[in-house]
Amino acid sequence: MSHTLDVAYVAELARLELSPDEKRTFQLQLETIVNYVEKIGELDLAGIEPTLHGQALVNVFREDVVVPSLDRECVLANAPERNGFEFKLPKIVEDA
């Protein structure tokens, strides 16, 4: 029933390559999940505050104090390729 879910579209946004079979399977499975969640819409929720987070916590902060960063050689050790101290990438033309 869900007209808001289109697996092919979401897969494209997530850069996932799905076969037609997989698309059908995931469409069905995800629709079932979404429909299950949509059941909540059957309730009268007027005046009920939405839950913003799984934990009933607010205001978890850090003071603005510098702590040491990682050693640069460690940081770059796993880079497939490096250009001096930069992570090297294939040439990029466009911004996101």
Binding site: Y9, V10, E12, L13, A14, R15, L52, H53, G54, Q55, L57, V58, N59, V60, F61, R62, E63, D64, V65, V66, V67, S69, L70, R72, V75, L76, N83, G84, F85, E86, F87, K88, L89, P90, K91, I92, E94, D95, A96
Partner: protein
């Protein structure tokens, strides 16, 4: 051709003045070597958890208060999902559903009078890494990644490049005043995305808009808007259609270019950030931050005119930079009443000239408000004359110190003893019989020459005004 209306809205990204990044304790010192200020959080390692910088929230709320926004009592963070190597975790932590600040606005000056530019909202987010482009490859530096960025989103209330520029400049001035950002354009502290559309006069609905991304100079914003307006008007004039797209300003070519972004590039699949809990701001907290706010530049201009009796023009120049206004006010308050305009003159001519020559800011100079105040008093009380004061001001600007001490030490005080002055006048007249002849023959300018001679004899320490009177009297008697 029918008349077209131009509609411009700006998204202004402002780097907040914090010591550390938005969600980790990495330093934000500018100009460090690549990938030195990085950690698992800002490198986007899986499993690393963000912890919010309290100062960044405070500075955003203070900005909102300066701009007349309503502060959200409950604010949340969301993930903005996209794939690009400047954000290695593949999402940016931002605010979509519940930003920290809502509404507000900035008043700009236009030829038609003041105009209110409304702000839609201000949200807080993290900056992306810097990608450097080379001929055959690109390189990523994560030092910038995770910098707290405040995004100020205006309503599409602007209708010309001039207005857009006035808006960004007003915004910059307010934020620098509030001390929330350095707004240093060279360091990329302030960057703008611009939305722009055109529509025929009389049409209610806005035209299709193009977005120009990531401009970081005032000149660039202005030039890009001028170009883009012309491009859209030309497209419409030949019956073409404006497509909704993102464009890039190419300063070297002087044009905007389509970024040919993929379809759906704007579907960021926002969802609530599960790694951060909401920010709840009590009214006491907001009030405490509000108490830290300085006066708005416009209010300060008005107050300075009323309080010190200086012209509006002076107040505008002085209030333009907060530290100049602070300096001026500190100096005026040390002076006898009624010297506001005199202090303003000294600041706007001598001090600002020195600032522009040296390229320094007033806080970088050893000149103190007390020294300027004393200098103004010394001139006002005729202890020293104008030329001496000018020389002293240059020296105080360079080396600091107090003018009174220098005057005493070097005997720079004006010669006001009448006997001494009259002696100089006699001497000058005796030695320049030709000038006296000229004066008698009607060449009144010769008196000026004689005054100059007297000044020379006094080694520059005579009060030129008094010398003028004495010379005139003497010549009149000789005539």
């Amino acid at each position: 051709m029918s008349k077209y209306l131009i509609t411009i809205g700006l998204e202004t990204h402002v780097q907040l003045k914090t010591n550390t990044k938005m969600f980790c304790g990495c330093s934000l010192k500018f100009g460090e070597e690549p990938n030195t200020n990085v950690c698992p959080v800002c490198l986007g390692y899986p499993g690393a958890l963000p912890v919010m910088n309290r100062e960044a929230v405070k500075l955003t709320v203070m900005s909102g208060l300066m701009l007349g926004c309503e502060i959200s009592r409950l604010s949340t963070f969301d993930r903005k999902n996209y794939f690009y190597p400047d954000m290695s975790k593949d999402y940016q932590i931002s605010q979509q559903a519940r930003p920290l600040c809502l509404g507000g606005g900035v008043t700009i000056q236009t030829p038609a009078g003041p105009k209110r530019v409304r702000i839609n909202h201000i949200h807080l987010e993290e900056d992306a890494a810097k990608i450097n482009h080379y001929a055959r490859f690109s390189g990523v530096d994560f030092n910038r990644c995770g910098t707290p960025l405040m995004e100020i989103v205006s309503e599409p209330d602007l209708s010309s490049p001039d207005e857009a520029l006035a808006y960004v400049q007003a915004l910059k001035q307010i934020l620098v005043y509030a001390g929330v950002s350095d707004c240093n354009l060279e360091e990329g502290n302030l960057r703008c995305d611009v939305n722009i559309s055109v529509r025929p006069e009389g049409q209610e609905q806005l035209g299709t808009r193009a977005e120009i991304k990531n401009m970081n100079t005032f000149k660039g914003i202005y030039a890009a808007l001028e170009y883009e307006i012309a491009r859209q008007l030309a497209t419409v004039a030949r019956g073409g259609v404006i497509v909704q797209e993102t464009r890039r300003w190419e300063p070297d070519l002087g044009e905007t270019q389509s970024m040919r972004s993929k379809e759906n590039a704007h579907d960021y699949r926002y969802f609530p950030e599960p790694d951060l809990v909401p920010v709840a701001l009590a009214s006491e907290q907001i009030a405490a931050w509000k108490a830290l706010l300085p006066e708005l530049p416009s209010a300060r201009r008005e107050r300075m005119v009323a309080e010190y009796g200086i012209p509006e023009y002076d107040a505008g120049v002085l209030a333009d930079a907060k530290e100049n206004a602070d300096f001026f006010e500190a100096a005026v308050r040390l002076c006898s009443p009624g010297l506001g305009k005199t202090v303003s003159n000294w600041f706007m001519t001598e001090v600002m000239r020195q600032l522009s020559v040296t390229g320094k800011t007033i806080s970088e100079c050893p000149l103190t408000p007390a020294a300027l105040a004393e200098l103004v008093e010394l001139v006002d009380k005729r202890v020293i004359n104008g030329p001496t004061a000018k020389e002293l001001s240059a020296e105080l600007f360079e080396n600091g110190g107090m003018p009174g001490v220098l005057v005493a030490k070097r005997g720079l005080g004006q010669v006001s003893d009448s006997g001494a002055l009259e002696g100089f006048v006699e001497q000058a007249i005796a030695a320049n019989a030709k000038s006296v002849e000229d004066y008698r023959a009607g060449k009144k300018a010769a008196a000026g020459f004689l005054v100059g001679q007297v000044m020379k004899l006094s080694k520059g320490k005579a009060d030129p005004q008094r010398v003028g009177i004495l010379v005139a009297e003497k010549l009149a008697r000789l005539a």
